[in-house]
Amino acid sequence: MAVKDYLRERYFPHMWCPGCGHGTILNSLIRAIEDLGLDKSEIVMTSGIGCSARISGYVDFHSLHTLHGRALAFATGVKLSRPELKVIVPMGDGDALAIGGNHFIHAARRNIDITAVVMNNRIYGMTGGQFSPLSGAGVKATTAPYKTIDSNFDVVELAKAAGATFVARSTAYHAQEATGYLKKAIEHKGFSVVEILSQCPTHYGRKNKEGDAVSMLELHKTNTAKLGSKALENNPELIARGVFLDVDRPEYCQEYDKIIEQASKG
């Protein structure tokens, strides 16, 4: 199948701004699914609210566009009630880790077989450029005119500590690499997290003088380095890309099946 076969073409062109990294992440995600040869009817895409969340409307899967921060909670209901479905949950950085932070760590703790994609552009785009828990200190935003003093979460470390069993990070610049990680994450049995650095030229880029989409993509290239690379060794300040964790641990729905088995005997 072609990429377009996975899209609801009648809703294109999409609503994202020119050069928004979210479109590239949609592109990578579709390719991952195409490469895996998944049936469109076995996929449920659940999203929250924000620019990122609109992704679910554009794909020809079962799509559930929910409430701000709650995508993983809805997805947990979908998955546990029908474990044979593939559940993919793309979220924005504020969506996943501010208002949705509790659901994020608990979905990880349960190791429920859901793929969470954090589309991290370090800003609330839809509401006009407020700082997020992934902005980090020293960033300008409409709610941080004097620059942020808040530290950011490290999504990878957070996901690992909370119990996710597959954790990776890539960027919108490294589209091919991101596709590869997404494939692995979707195939992984358990809670998988892929953080993909995205760019918001409209808000983050303008406020922080990072230029247009092209120069922001350049930053994805220059500010990151592959896990285990010489570049990262020489400059630990760089953001690491790669697969940080890929382990097996009992998966929630499978464990619940054992409960059913035990309870039915009684």
Partner: protein, 73 residues
């Protein structure tokens, strides 16, 4: 390995928002933005079919259509 040859660099002008990502990151400078800020393949003969433009396009507007070179099969 078969050598890839471009059949067509199909650009959906309705979807393209003219961000210029494809233009800037094309290793062979095949693409440019036209007067309407839409991407066009101005030097298709230089295309090496790496598909980076297609993979990175945030508008999902580019398709690199490839002809397989039969002699190399």
């Amino acid at each position: 390995m078969s050598k890839k040859k471009l059949r067509e660099l199909a650009i959906n002008r309705d979807w393209c928002k003219g961000c210029g990502i494809c233009v800037s990151f094309c290793p062979k400078k095949v693409l440019e933005l036209d007067s309407k800020d839409k991407a066009v393949a101005v030097r298709p003969e230089d295309c090496i079919c790496c598909k980076l433009c297609e993979l990175r396009c945030p508008d999902l507007a580019i398709e690199v259509l490839i002809e397989q070179d039969k002699e190399d099969e």
